[in-house]
């Protein structure tokens, strides 16, 4: 365990931290997917990845607003998105890693949307009305995201020799970041006991069997991760997040409160 420096985000009520974690996952991935706009291999993919990012951004807005509301210090969704530094972000590292080539992005989408689908499905039954509402709404959107990633993984994996090689490399690139998705901690376990949150460790078996099935059909092999990433939920991030935030936040920080 790497010791995190103390920061104000550590003192949030557990429910606010929880909403922040889910909101940061969605926000950071939304930004990454937005980077594909005008860069995707075909125009339909520009639109698809942009639309998926938009869904995630909508989820992030609800979750960050809620985190601010539970915190009770008057922070808005914008304050939380634009005015926190990287150590205060609580997303998993998987969503922040560079897009890589299209196959890396598809592998990340497959891993993350399958995880998020299981999470939102379970969270739809949360005793917390807001979380249940966001999850029940979002699970149907994520169903489309997961299908999109699955279709591409099959097409690339079971495609040409070159597309197969790159899709396999994509899966291998994201694999070390998968374990973190299912690493629950005391905060999450306590919220799960209260019926508010979901213990993500319980989502792992279904994720494994789905990924194994998709990869097998795509003629890809399930990698063995030589190392595993962790620490995102405690504010430990890869170098990539700082660059991402610099781009995402600079306008708001240069012109506070700017709108159009």
């Amino acid at each position: 365990m790497i010791a995190a420096l103390p920061d104000p985000t550590d003192d949030l009520p557990p429910l606010a931290t929880y909403a922040l974690r889910l909101g940061d996952d969605a926000l950071v991935l939304a930004h990454r997917l937005g980077e594909w706009i005008a860069n995707a291999p075909q125009i339909e993919e520009d639109i698809a990845l942009g639309n998926i990012g938009l869904d995630l951004l909508g989820q992030a807005r609800s979750l960050l607003s809620y985190a601010g509301e539970v915190e009770g210090a008057g922070r808005t969704e914008d304050d939380l998105a634009y005015l926190r530094d990287e150590r205060q972000f609580r997303n998993v590292q998987l969503v922040e890693i560079a897009n890589g080539d299209f196959a890396v992005t598809i592998a990340r989408q497959l891993a993350f949307s399958t995880y998020q689908h299981g999470l939102y499905e379970a969270l739809s039954d949360s005793t917390d009305e807001l979380l249940a509402g966001v999850a029940a709404k979002a699970v149907k959107e994520v169903d489309y995201h997961r299908d999109h990633a699955t279709q591409w993984a099959l097409r690339l994996g079971d495609g040409t020799e070159e597309s197969h090689r790159r899709m396999q490399a994509g899966v291998e690139t994201v694999w070390p970041y998968v374990a973190e998705l299912f690493q629950s901690d005391p905060l999450e376990q306590e919220l799960a006991r209260m019926g508010v949150g979901v213990d993500t460790a319980t989502l792992k078996p279904a994720w494994d069997s789905r990924l194994e099935a998709v990869l097998a059909e795509a003629t890809l092999s399930v990698p063995v991760a030589a190392w595993t990433a962790h620490g995102g939920r405690q504010g430990i991030h890869t170098e990539a997040l700082g660059y991402l935030l610099a781009e995402m936040q600079h306008l708001h920080r240069s012109h506070p409160g700017a709108s159009w």
Binding site: I47, D55, G58, E129, V134, A136
Partner: protein, 160 residues
């Protein structure tokens, strides 16, 4: 529903969706209700089609403007997520308007472990020979199709 709230509901409900301007927000099923509060102010409740629907701000502004023009100057527009909107909230009148506009309306989504992709009827020529070009279209709520009979591309309002 009081006379005032019914009147206000009719005005708010007639606001057009900015992205599919043949549909009113009542047709779409995203207007959830209009309440007259104790102090006489109005609370309008709307719900997004998709979590990230960028039209919500425009709809909020249009509802406020339409009601102001009818003399309601104290209007609060509230956004709710529950119960989640689905394409089943769209009225059959709305679906007919969509088809006439050239957008294939949503059908009921098949549930279950194997979602069989069903054919979508071309809104131009009525043929069932069509193929999906992209699951994601010009807006979050639409996918892009092409008719194999008349060769015209068309939007399909995705079932959700």
């Amino acid at each position: 529903m009081t006379t005032t709230s019914a009147h206000a509901y009719a005005i708010a409900g007639a606001v057009l969706d900015p992205e599919v301007p043949v549909l009113t927000i009542a047709d779409l099923g995203i207007l959830r209700g209009v309440n007259v509060d104790d102090d006489g102010a109005l609370t309008v409740t709307i719900t997004p089609t998709y979590s990230g629907c960028p039209a919500m701000d425009a709809i909020r502004a249009d509802v406020t403007t339409a009601l102001a023009a009818a003399g309601f100057d104290r209007v609060k527009v509230r956004t709710v997520l529950s119960p989640a909107w689905t394409t089943d909230w769209m009225s059959s009148e709305g679906k007919a308007k969509l088809r006439a506009y050239g957008i294939a309306p949503p059908e009921r989504r098949s549930a279950g472990p194997v979602a069989l992709p069903l054919s979508v009827r071309c809104p131009q020529c009525g043929s069932l020979g069509s193929r999906e070009v992209s699951r994601f279209g010009s807006t979050a709520c639409k996918s892009l199709w092409v008719c194999t009979t008349c060769a015209e591309p068309f939007d399909h309002f995705k079932a959700l």
